[in-house]
């Protein structure tokens, strides 16, 4: 096993009385695309700034390629950052912004010239080298920030919500480009975002954070399909979460009915929460449905209809339907056993992983 | 940045604070407790508080400063208001500022000519049959010239305050049925109170200490606190008494600053519009 590029061991960080990071442990491997995903104030930017060297930790250890990072100032770390608002130097033009890191290190002039032009070519900006920063559009500024950060050939690139200032269309284009760039450079990206779609689309692995702690990490598919708790299920994607009881292995009860499911390893009759994704619910006639709900309202979303309906227990159900439904009509909902995801209360990630391993291995 | 490097570049500025900010204030307070024979005493304060001359002078000084400030506000507010309605208002504002770049003494000097016994104003008064009057070396001439000098310093903060008002507010006021006059009284005026306060601060305290004007324009008829300090320091060499009056002026300054709210900086700065708050 190779040494992880970054490792956090029991890292805690206090700002005064406020605990920004709570016992953070993780390892990041070389050459992967990681996302730190969470609402604002969840501690994801604190982690980023800790890696970059702008924060010290209150306790715990941060290792970079196996060596402690403590006492290494930010300008000596082989890490570069793309800042949220790009932090481009307004007094320098595009070329000089990109050249900044090289000229700081007194790299010879002609080498700077070729390397800057190469970097600009990589982000398709070679024609704008002599432009002033304030003459660029948001998307162009974003590219300058990328070129400026990668020209130093960092081992690790940190991206602090770099796409949040762009409009939706541009943001989606940039998602492809960043992903492609990461694969081309082969270096590790750590991407901070509060946008779950962004994280799901780009990452090899996602860390979901809330209130200074990492709640769950895994591939986008794992996290989407097997959220560990209510917060993760709610934060990632849209979901219907109802209270239920785990009658026994592979059988769960909610809204007064028992259903076959794919989860196991819990106590009999343990109170649980049940997650059903809106796109996993198929609309059918009431007699064919596993659940019967009454339609309240629907919105046309382009590629689907978003239906809001209520069951007999007054739980709200969000359904993505390809066809329109009649308002106030009773409809049946059909779903497969594997569409049901059962979550225990207060389950830690390690236990969750162990339980999953245990019955999925069977 | 490491702390030692920080301290090194900070040293000259700290020395300045110590030597030219703290020391002078301390020294003027210290000096106020000495009489002409360099003996420590509170006699200066006793003299000040019991002498009707000093007290009357203080009140007078206050009264003049009050009148100057009042006239300046009355003239400046409409001017600032109308300036804001002009097309190239930045340019016209610059023209308001321009006279402040002319040395104050030259402006005072101009009025010596204008108000002189045979000067233009008296020629005009003679022409329309009123006949020449003594204008120079009167209270009137002092207040007139002081007001003249202070007007730009009052127009600027008020102008800025008016310029900052969101035009939508004025439209809203009209929309809700207010007349122009009602909009002025109930919307514009309350929103520009800060500008007026800033202007009053920029004008009132300096008006207490315009000793050169009292000398050149007021003759020796008008004595302000500033004049008294100058006289004690440079003519009678009674530094103790001069410092005592200085301390009184400093106290007044703090009182007026406390009364008018937040502290405002000197005038030139408002002047260039460099501090856009």
């Amino acid at each position: 096993m190779t040494t992880p590029i970054i490792e956090f061991q029991h890292v805690n960080k206090f700002f005064g009385d406020f605990q920004a990071l709570k016992d953070i442990n993780f390892q990041l491997d070389q050459g992967k695309f990681y996302s730190l995903l969470g609402p604002s104030g969840s501690g994801k930017t604190t982690i980023l700034r800790t890696i970059a060297g702008f924060n010290s930790v209150t306790s715990g250890t941060v290792l970079f390629q196996g060596k402690p990072l403590k006492n290494v100032p930010p300008n000596k770390r082989r890490v570069n950052t793309i800042f949220q608002n790009y932090a481009l130097f307004p007094h320098l033009n595009v070329f000089d912004n990109v050249a900044f890191g090289l000229s700081i290190r007194h790299v010879p002039k002609d080498e700077i010239q070729t390397r800057v032009m190469d970097a600009l070519k990589m982000v398709h900006l070679q024609e704008l080298a002599s432009r002033d920063i304030n003459e660029l559009s948001g998307g162009q500024q974003q590219r300058v920030a990328i070129a400026r950060a990668i020209i130093n050939e960092p081992e690790l690139l940190l991206l602090d919500e770099p796409l949040s200032a762009l409009d939706k269309k541009l943001r989606q284009d940039m998602q492809y480009e960043l992903r492609e760039l990461q694969q081309r450079l082969g270096i590790t990206f750590v991407f901070v975002t509060h946008d779950q779609e962004e994280a799901l689309a780009m990452s090899d692995e996602i860390f979901v954070m809330d209130e200074g702690a990492i709640l769950q990490n895994g591939t986008p598919v794992d996290i989407y399909d097997e959220p560990i708790n209510h917060f993760v299920a709610d934060f990632i994607g849209e979901s219907n979460i109802v209270k239920g009881t785990m009658v026994k292995d592979y059988e769960v009860e909610f809204v007064g009915k028992r259903f076959e499911c794919a989860d196991a390893g819990m106590r009999p009759n343990e109170p649980v929460e049940v997650v059903l994704r809106p796109e996993d619910l198929d609309v059918t006639t009431p007699d064919k449905g596993k659940l019967i709900v009454q339609v309240d309202s629907q919105l046309f979303r382009g590629d689907h209809f978003e239906v809001v309906a209520y069951d007999a227990d007054h739980n709200e159900w969000l359904i993505h339907s390809t066809n329109p439904v009649k308002e106030d009509a009773d409809i049946g909902l059909f779903f497969e056993p594997e569409d049901i995801h059962v979550m225990r209360f207060n389950e830690k990630e390690a236990d969750f992983d162990a339980r999953l391993e245990q019955y999925e291995g069977e | 940045m490491n702390t030692t490097a920080k301290r090194i570049y900070y040293i000259p500025y700290m020395l300045w604070i110590l030597l030219f900010v703290i020391a002078p204030v301390a020294l003027i307070v210290y000096q106020s407790f000495f009489n002409l024979d360099h003996q420590a005493t509170i006699q200066n304060y006793v003299t000040y508080l019991t002498s009707s001359t000093y007290l009357r002078m203080t009140l007078n000084s206050f009264w003049y400063a009050f009148l100057i400030t009042l006239f300046t506000v009355l003239i400046s507010y409409p001017a600032a208001l109308f300036l804001n309605q002009l097309k190239h208002k930045d340019f016209w504002l610059l023209l308001i500022i321009l006279p402040t770049w002319i040395n104050l003494l030259l402006k005072a000097y101009a009025f010596i000519g204008i108000f002189a016994q045979n000067g233009s104003v008296n020629q005009f008064l003679g022409f329309i049959g009123i006949g020449p009057k003594q204008i120079l070396f009167t209270d009137f001439s002092f207040i007139f010239v002081a007001t003249y000098i202070e007007i730009p310093f009052m127009i600027l903060p008020i102008y800025n305050a008016i310029a900052e008002i969101d035009p939508a507010l004025l439209t809203a006021s009209r929309d809700l049925g207010a007349t122009n006059w009602q909009t002025l009284i109930r919307v514009i005026l309350p929103l520009t109170r800060k500008g007026i306060t800033a202007g009053v601060q920029a004008v009132f305290i300096p008006s207490l200490s315009l000793f050169m004007l009292t000398r050149l324009i007021g003759g020796n008829r008008v004595i302000t606190l500033g004049t008294a300090i100058e006289e004690h320091f440079l003519t009678t060499m009674n530094w103790g008494m001069g410092s005592t009056i200085g301390v009184v002026l400093i106290i007044m300054m703090f009182i007026s600053m406390a009364l008018t709210g937040e502290h405002k900086r000197k005038r030139k700065e408002i002047d260039t519009g460099a501090t856009k708050e």
Partner: protein, 272 residues
Amino acid sequence: MQRKNRLGRVYLVIVFLVLYLPILYLIYFSFSSGSTMNTFKNFTWANYRTLFADTRLIQIVLQTLLLALLSSLIATVVGTMGALGIAASKRTSTRNLMLSLNNVLMVSPDVIIGASFLILFTMLGISLGFGSVLASHIAFSIPIVVLMVLPRIQEMDHALIDAAYDLGASAPQVLNRVILPFITPGIVAGYFMAFTYSLDDFAVTFFVTGNGFATLSVEIYSRARQGISLEINALSALMFVFALLLVLIYFFIQVHQSNRTKRNKQKARNAA
């Protein structure tokens, strides 16, 4: 509305007349061959000839300019370092205390500054003259420099400094290559203000200047007390033209700059 506008125009015309008449009056009489500002005799350049032949006055003008250049230069250096120091202080209370101390000289009346500096120089045994005047001008110019530079520092996105460190810059490099270029407009404005403060000052100089040294303001004061001399009128005319030129240059730079930013924004929009 129309009527009100016209009334406003009339009012403004009167204000402008009052503001400019005394100055124009001075200039007008600078071309008079008489000896008073009462009646205009004949047109003449004689007052200007006298002015340029008055070596004492020319020398004073040069001294005043030198004093202004020198004092504002030193004040700008010290003030900029002070502003950097204040901005770097971690606790808000320290920063507020420093700012209050900084502003003491800004709000104090000139007589108080002059009188207290006079006591200071006397106590320290410094003789009055060019040195004491220079020290005083530096002293009262420093706070204005701080007030011009500090907002610029605070306006600076802290991420720029982080970015510079992130790209490998050392502390001195961050200062030289990022912070100083960014705050340069503030420094220039501060220098400019300090310069005009120095040129304009009368009261403080009047207190701390000895017999051997005079600035233009002090000289005009003493001459004005002796009565009218049309040479002074000629001088004011020249100073007015000088001020006018400065203001016009300042104005056109501003217009040019705002046009430039507008153009740039347009370009950016087209590019987007």
